[in-house]
């Protein structure tokens, strides 16, 4: 048997395959396709204090090996989550992580305080990298001072595991990783989507109502992998790799580059069973290569180069 587990501090994950926020709903949408409890964890939809309707339609466009989205954090707010969703999903035998968002630092703090009280939520993912909202979001994740401030403020009120999700739309992602580590983040996840756009040439107008949106899917994998490698070399806390992971091989690239875990995003739209298939594939790879613990391959490429 191969050991696939990993930990953020004293929080144990039975395996390193999680699902990415905004791409896996609250998990239950996938009940027909896979056993959610087999996953290492699920990061639920981006949540805000107040309910949000998000951006206008059209919010989506297909690109070469990827897609743009401009959902803009549509969600029913933390009250609804706590009352209606939390009871439904807390039965899953996996780590449920809430992705939190706000326009102001106070929003993040208030949300973190609320979620701190939810027994079955062992961690939050602080989203300072959403490119699709006018206020907050990526603005926090592309300015070092703001990133520091919001992490510090949330850390002060949140006792469980704090994962900070970084934006790729920066000159030097390592600087941001260092700052959030310094401020007490327990883990770093990256990348969120890259800011992109598409024009409808026939209609002569932008494909998205918001003009720009977030690029995800295999197209961004090389960039995600590079950033994960850079960050994992630098920080001591576990790094969760995200970006364009469609196959076992994609996921393995991230582990070999230094990620302790991965999140599967857009892939779930194309194959709702992707997270489980990738999980099985990782196990088979380790067996074939003669490893008994996934930790043996984490950051492996740094040893040989």
């Amino acid at each position: 048997m191969v050991n696939l587990g990993f930990s953020i501090g004293d929080l144990h994950f039975k395996n390193p395959v999680l699902t990415a926020s905004g791409t896996f709903g609250y998990g239950s949408e996938f009940d027909d396709f896979l056993d959610v409890s087999r996953l290492g964890g699920i990061v639920v939809k981006g949540t805000t204090i107040e309910p949000r309707e998000g951006n206008l339609y059209p919010r989506m466009a297909e690109t070469a090996s990827g897609m743009l989205n401009a959902v803009g954090l549509q969600n029913k707010g933390i009250d609804y989550f706590e009352k209606n969703i939390y009871p439904r999903i807390s039965g899953y035998n996996t780590n449920i992580i809430v992705n939190i968002n706000g326009s102001y630092i106070d929003d993040y703090v208030a949300l973190a305080e609320r979620i701190n009280r939810l027994e079955k939520i062992p961690a939050i993912e602080l989203n300072i990298s959403c490119p699709n909202v006018k206020m907050g979001g990526m603005a926090f994740g592309t300015n070092l001072d703001s990133a520091r401030e919001v992490t510090r403020a949330v850390r002060a009120v949140y006792a469980k595991k704090l994962i900070v999700k970084l934006s790729p739309n920066v000159t030097n992602v390592v600087d941001f990783a260092k700052v959030v580590e310094e401020e007490g983040a327990d883990s770093i996840s990256l990348i969120n989507t890259l800011l992109g756009m598409l024009v409808d040439v026939e209609k002569m107008r932008p494909a998205l109502s918001t003009i720009t949106g977030g690029l995800s899917g295999p197209a961004i994998k090389p960039i995600a992998l590079r950033m994960v490698w850079q960050v994992a070399k630098t920080v001591r806390i576990p790094v969760i790799g995200i970006g364009g992971i469609m196959t076992t091989s994609d996921a393995l690239e991230f582990f070999l580059a230094g990620a302790s875990a991965v999140q599967i995003g857009t892939a779930s739209f194309i194959d709702p069973q992707a997270p489980v298939k990738i999980l099985e594939g990782i196990e088979n790879y380790l067996i074939k290569k003669g490893f008994s613990d996934i930790k043996e391959i984490i950051g492996y490429i740094n040893r040989t180069t």
Binding site: T23, F24, E29, L56, M60, Q74, F269, Q273
Partner: protein, 255 residues
């Protein structure tokens, strides 16, 4: 009904005209009990530019032979690639997805209105209504007589009325101008087609107090209610066309 992901075998690919073709699919397992208006998310393999699945309605179902059909209009890269499938090829589907058209109230006289690739769900809907004791009339709009497809199939369901934009068959103009709408005999209309057509029909129905359901064709990524890309602004706020739809009562919409 449980959603599934499955490789289905292509057992027929019939070209109807320049734009339309019908794929017939059969699976190893028993096909599900489809409801009219439901759709499948179709994976287009072998087309470098189709990353996302394509939503396609259930067009016709044959429970005895355990097969069903998709009626597809070649709109671009994905549907173009699907048109080249050959018998024996496999097609990966996530299905059945979405809600469905509601049954009429007893004795209501019913009209199905379709245009373009919007006719796709109407055949199955028509058969479904028939098997539930309704004999709907059907009004179809096409660009010209050469674009008319599966006319005989609809004749098996009920009276069929036609419009063509050039007047080459049936009444000239758009479905919304057809004279049967002036009779005022229909208490319920099911409509599927281009946005402009559905909006016109919805306007007509609202003015005349006719119950009306439309099937929307919003852009979709996931098809299962998680990406929130396919939303439509309704009186209940943003709803997902993939799980709260694709069928909506026009009174719900802010049209």
């Amino acid at each position: 009904m449980a959603k599934r992901i499955e490789d289905l075998k292509v057992i027929g690919n019939k070209r109807l005209n320049n734009d339309f073709f019908v794929l017939e699919l059969s699976g190893n397992d028993k096909i599900p009990d489809f409801k009219p208006g439901q759709f499948a998310q179709v994976r287009v393999d072998g087309s470098p530019e189709t990353f996302l699945r394509r939503p396609i309605s259930i067009h016709d179902v044959d429970y005895e032979r355990n097969t069903f059909k998709l009626l597809i209009q070649i709109a671009g890269k994905g549907t173009g690639a699907l048109s080249k499938l050959r018998n024996g090829d496999f097609l990966n589907l996530i299905y059945p997805l979405g809600n469905s058209f509601g049954l009429p109230v007893e004795n209501e006289r019913v009209l199905l209105v379709g245009g373009g690739c919007g006719v796709a769900p109407l055949l199955f809907l028509g058969k479904y209504l028939r098997s539930n004791g309704y004999i709907p009339d059907i009004l179809l709009g096409f660009r010209n007589s050469e674009q008319i497809i599966e006319f005989e199939e609809y004749l098996k369901i009920g009276n069929v009325f036609l419009t063509t934009e050039d007047g080459s068959k049936g009444e000239k103009g758009y479905v919304t101008n057809h004279s049967i709408l002036l009779t005022g005999r229909y208490k319920r209309i099911y409509c599927c087609g281009p946005d402009s057509m559905m909006r016109a029909i919805a306007g007509y129905c609202k003015k005349n107090n006719i119950a009306c359901e439309v099937s929307l064709e919003n852009l979709m990524a996931c098809g299962i209610g998680v990406c929130l890309c396919c939303i439509i602004d309704t009186i209940k706020g943003n709803l997902c066309t993939c799980i709260d739809g694709p069928v909506f009562n026009i009174n719900e919409l802010k049209w």
